[in-house]
Amino acid sequence: MKKILMFLSLMAFCLSNTTAYSQNAHFVKNGIIEFEKKANMFAILKRKIDKDNESYYQPAYDAYKRDKPQFRTSKSTLYFNQDKSLYKWPEEEQMASNFGFDKDFLVEIKNTIATNFNNQTSISKKNMFEDTYLVTDSLRKIKWKITDETREIAGYNCRRANALIMDSIYVVAYYSNQIAVSGGPESFTGLPGMILGLALPHENVTWFATKVTEVAVPEKDLMPPTKGKPTDNKGLGEIIKKTMKDWGTYGRQAAKALLL
């Protein structure tokens, strides 16, 4: 009897061992993700045309559509481990003005965001014209709606989740449970896996991962930004309100992007 038990447990051990090798998935817990941000300029600029400016915006829009590409793309990177992540943009190659027909805050903005998953806080460096703000606040609570839609992004199988943030912005996110960190690009977190695809369909902007590299990330690559005037989301909101109160549509768009 004893022998049989021994044999069974040995069997179980062997089985569990072999199956562990063949069945247990490998979960990514640290690494670097490259994101490509894509903005549909044709749709974004078209929204800016109203009856007050159409006498000069409409011809400019037609010229833009004739001469320029539909999408503007830019690359950003997310460094992460199980405790922290740092989302950042490469040094700008060309310093351009903030103002212009084809300038849109949501397209141009380049925030650096350090997230601490343990205490659910983030430190974000946000540039607003000549000023830089260092926004420290708790992570945004997003009421994600899980769906059964899946797609593969950068080799990872992802599940779609939808949400509504800031009362009006519709968000679509694709997360992969194969990356065991609840992070994502920009300030989007809180899903049971890493967000590899993100879309703001009505703002015509998407972020999709192009490459995921599993690698140990040194602490120095996860250091939160330090430069900027310290504030929190509420404080930043007040500064924006004060600065852009007479800016009309442009101001509202800028506020939306800065608070995202």
Partner: protein, 930 residues
Amino acid sequence: MKNLLRSLCLLLLLTTYAKAQNLHQLKGRTIDTASTTLLNGATIAVLNAKDSTLVKFTRSNENGNFEINGIKNGKFILLVSYPKYADFVDEFTLDSTQQIKDFGKINLVGTATLLQDVLVKGNRNAIKIKGDTTEFDPKAYNIEPNAKVEDLIKQFPGIQVDKDGKITAQGKTVQKVLVDGEEFFGDDPTLVTKNLRADMVDKVQLYDKTSDQAAFTGIDDGQKAKTLNIKLKEDKKNGYFGKLEGGYGTKDFYNSQALFNRFWGKKKFSAYGILSNTGTVGLNWDDSRKYGSDNNVQVGDDGGIYYSYSSSGDDFEDFNGQYGGRGLPTARTGGLHFDDKWNKDNESLNTNYKIGYIRLKTVSEDLSQNNLPNGIINNQSNQNDDKDVLRQKIDATYQIKLDTTATLKLSINGANNQGSVLSSFNSSSTDGNNNPLNKSERKLSNNTDEQNFFISAFLTKKLKKNRRTFSLNLSQSINQNKANGKLFAENTFFETTGVRDSITNQLKINNIKNNAFTSNATYTEPLGKSLSVIVNYGLNLTDGRADRRSFNLDGNANYTVLDNRFSSDFKLNQVSNQGGLVFNIKKTKTTVNFGSKISAVNFKQIDLLGGNSVNRNFINYFPQATYQYRFSQQKSLRLSYNGNTSQPTIDQLQPLTNNNNPLNIVVGNPTLKPSFRSNFNGSFNDYKVIKDQSLYFNVYYSFTNNPIVSDVTTDTQTGKTTSRFVNITKAQTDYFLYASFSRKLLDVNVGLNLRASGNKGYNFINTNLNETLNNSFSGALRVYKYVDGKYNFYLNGGPSYNVSKASIGNLANNNGWVFNGGAGGRVYLPAKFEISTDADYNFRGKTPAFNQTFSQFIWNAYLSKKFLKSQGLKLTLSANDILNQNTGFTRSAFNGNITQNTVNTIRRFFMFSIVWDFSKMGGSTPIQKK
């Protein structure tokens, strides 16, 4: 018993406590059924059953165990997922009866309850399809007014849409749905509703899209994704809008306009007409965008909107449709416009026809002081002009996008100007002691007929390598001007020997032709990441003939006797080869460019009557260098240098002799050499957006080596002048300094600017070298506030001081103070009333040369009220120059001459006008200006 009671109480307490909290713990173990392996790292998520929102999630530990705490009462879905396993889904309810919910072993297998059956969802827009590029035209199908895109697609042959909205075509799944080329994610109707309606769809395309990677690398990896592209209709723009304006005022002033614009699809037709004697000669900026054409717009890489504006360069056409010249204009102008786009907007045509008749009456008076080495000459003159011009212009532009990298633009335009002018002129000159020198009376009548024709082709091409571009511009112009006029002049000279009269009575027939061909090819080659080189070459050819003949009266009172002295027939040929090489370095904060253009010019002018010819060759240099540094987005420094050779003009080398003004004779100098001018420019700007503060500096300095200066000899006996141009070895200089600062103070924008400018120049007066120094210093303060839809106002003004010094004839100068100021504002009153006013003040102090001050205050105002729901009807009562002070006054100093001029202008009048903006545009709100 006691113990029992105690424990009961405790139990009660515990349950009430639990009830109050209603918090539950979930636990379980994830396991692979087939192998009974414990799965660690499985994602366990708790969703609300009512809307599938995520409540909490965790991952199973090494033993496959998981625990989730703090879940309230309610209905939930447990979603367990693990890579490469089917989802495990279980609906469960938590209530007070059970504090811990143990799921026990959760078996993950290939088959499990499908999540989609339990998730709460609306009609999703996810779509599946198969096939090669196929286009479906929605017009062929029945669509209900508010039908969704799926309802439309369902009707297409070979395509099925299942109950979830998933589409399959030809047995394959569509992986991506695009709307106008952008991925369509579909809205979750429980969060947002912005349905894509079927009637918004123009066409639906079904095709195999190469993977993004292949599109990026250009290497086809064979992976194709079925893609459905839904092309939406362009905005429904069918309709019309227009404007009718009529105004009548005191002194018979009137201003009326009718504008109409109709568009259907991509076609646009518009027409306008203007009758006015208040200075309106064309459409204003806004209206010309709406009713005219605008294919000359480009959006630059910096996001700026650039308009290329072409003008015939006369007073009758400015960008805002306002007459900018002297005198009183009466205008009758009109135009037609048509444009169309087709072939997916890749081709466009834009045509315009304009006709304008303008009658101009000018009355002017000049006072001038001519400083000479041995005294001064004072001039006084009066001139009356009556001018009639009829202009017609037709143009057409065709633009085609040859492919994604090349664009070709063809333009053609023709114009005809017919004019007649009648001038009468009288002048008199006196010397410093008020002794008369000369007196002149002239009458000139002239009829002109001018024809212009212009054709051009412009090709731009982006080449395969990034930043490598090529462009070619070719154009040909033909101008012909015929004039036929009479000159009658009577000049009286008060010479020491007595009074001498001279009478000229001539017929003048001019025939001038000019053909020009210009070309320029530009090639940009990237040399590394930040360096690029721009090479250009151009060949320009000019070929012209100017035949001017003067005839005197014969015995039969007919103008048949050719006056050789005042007749000329020149033929001009000019060939210019221009090449350039410019290097450009663009880095994050620094932009540097440097290089030069060089042109070799040969020109030959043959005097067909006199037999003389001038044949000259010039090499002209145009070096340039710019350095720009951007400290930040709104703060930058720019330094630049450019130099240019200016060759003498043909009129300086070999002018035509004319006697239109017998008191001023111009002589040529065929030995003139080119001069070279060097310009240095520096600017710094810093704009702080949040503070609304701006700082700007600009410094400019230039010097001209070997300048071409005027050499004027005045006969002090008669006041007659003979002028020509000569080179001198001294350098002429110019400078300009400007600084401005503005910021918000007490919610009002306040700005200050300071300016200094001046020049040092030379000229010859009766063979003596005269050195002139002019300096002007000014400062101004401005204040403005703008509150959208309520009111706005501005106020600006400041003094300036002018110093001018001439080394010859320092008898009198024109040094003195000037003050300029302006103010204005607009208030939007209740009941759609609006009141607006503006004023300009100009003061000039006494100067040693002009012993009187001058001041004028031009004040305008209007009151208007809007009517109708659309605010499309507006009544306005306006007053122009309320104080009746506009005298058209100017005063200037140049080369030892000081001149003061007054000209007749539109002065005080009051006008009542009605403006009606109307529109009908596919039900949308009417277009109207604020």
